[in-house]
């Protein structure tokens, strides 16, 4: 089963990060690297990436047949997607085990979403 682990930051988790010392930041980053390495070593990692700041996002809307790009999130957002891990695990429980290792699991929030499969069994 393939799952998308979505890692969300919020103002509180951002503030904690901003107040971190250099050592604490290094430890935090090493934590992410360790999860990445463990996922890769177990053969469960498909891909992953951190996402750039949401202020760099563009939205696109089609109006009168023309696309109109607009900048970033419109109002102050309570929560934003900070990164993702696309994994293949034997079960949801196993995917949740990985998800609880992210610091956002107690500072921000982590979502584990099953993906749809292109095939299906007998009906």
């Amino acid at each position: 089963m393939k799952y998308l682990i979505l890692i969300y930051s919020n103002p509180k988790s951002m503030e904690v990060w901003d107040n971190f010392s250099a050592e604490q930041r290094a430890a935090g980053l090493a934590g992410y690297q360790a999860i990445y390495d463990d996922l890769a070593a177990s053969g469960e990692l498909i891909s992953s990436s951190a996402l750039a700041d949401p202020s760099l996002s563009k939205h696109v809307r089609i109006e009168d047949g023309r696309s109109i790009p607009t900048d970033g999130p419109f109002a102050e957002v309570k929560e934003h997607l900070a990164g993702f891990f696309f994994v293949e695990c034997p079960s949801m429980d196993r995917a949740l085990e990985w998800a609880t290792r992210f610091s956002e699991a107690f500072l921000g929030s982590v979502e584990v979403r099953p993906t749809m499969a292109p095939g299906g069994g007998d009906i």
Binding site: M1, K2, A40, A41, S42, G43, E44, L45, I46, S47, E88, P90, P114, T115, M116, A117, P118, G119, G120, G121, D122, I123
Partner: protein, 393 residues
Amino acid sequence: MLGALIRRYGDFDICEDAVQEALLAATLQWPAEGLPANPRGWLATVASRRRTEIWRSESARRRREEAAFSAAPRDVDPLPDSDDTLTLLMLCCHPSLTQMSQVALTLRAVGGLSTSEIARALLVPDSTVGQRISRAKQAIKANGARFRLPPDDEYTERVRAVLHVLYLIFNEGYTASSGPSLHRIELSAEAIRLARQLHERLPDDGETAGLLALMLLTDARRPARTTGDGSLVPLAEQNRRLWDATAITEGTALITHALATATVGPYQLQAAIAAVHDEAARSEDTDWHQILALYGLLRALAPGPMVTLNRIVAVAMVEGPRVALDELAVAERDPAFAGNHRVDAVRAHLLDMAGDADGARRSYRLAARRTLSIPEQRYLESRAMRHLSKPQE
């Protein structure tokens, strides 16, 4: 070949590399120089020689031992492989490995698929498969697993592990056959090929025969289970003339023999159920009494949510949808069914049979929302739509 080398030398990685290089050498040399008198012996000799070369370059520390090693008799005869495939399968399905690694290693080492072929078939990147295989080899090494058949007290369990991996490979290919990824279908063919090899080596093992029969009897319906645009066709509506009669004959013979001679097991019972479906020329000719009895046995032997639900569908065909709905209401209390879209799909089907169009539509909608299969979602949505035009009851 790989099995023979590993049996002789014991080191999985090096032997695998050696066999690959021997095969490469063969593809380069044979077209130019003609087929050797004994191709298998030629390959074994080249692989064995390459294995020694790789081994030799591996470590300077071992160099002194190498003299003794090279002095040993090196005549390579055509290698008997009757037990090697079985031993290799058991090594690939070693209990120290995760299921995903067992699948990848089996396809690589026994099936002979390349890492990229496996990656394409499993819809994951090459690097993921590469990791799974190298990790699996490390785990086997770390566990000190040797290339030999397991002791008697582990034997049955290890055969079961192999059967489970072959079953997973088959399903991976079979369920994909409604999707856009045609190459995944080859996984079913590969699983059938490996199950056939295993059955040749263990002809008296009822569950091995049962699994092979189950695969054949299920795969036989493949041409009828989807339409041209990839939509799923339920069993009751399939054009049975499209079913593969040869596969059905073979599967039925296998399961008939196994049930008469071996200890019964879950694969045999599932194969028997598939055989009863397959032998009905028309959907309405299906012997549901027999299917219900077989599900009763399966429930006693290997209970699980899927068995419970499939049995309830058979109850509906024999005793009517209302009895089945009552049974479903009881079964649903089991937390194992929480959020399972199949419960909603079965309820929808039963309400449909009972003439409750409104209830059926709601359950079809719920099932469609909860399924993780795209073609199944399309099917369930189309069923829900069908009830929109009907008058509400």
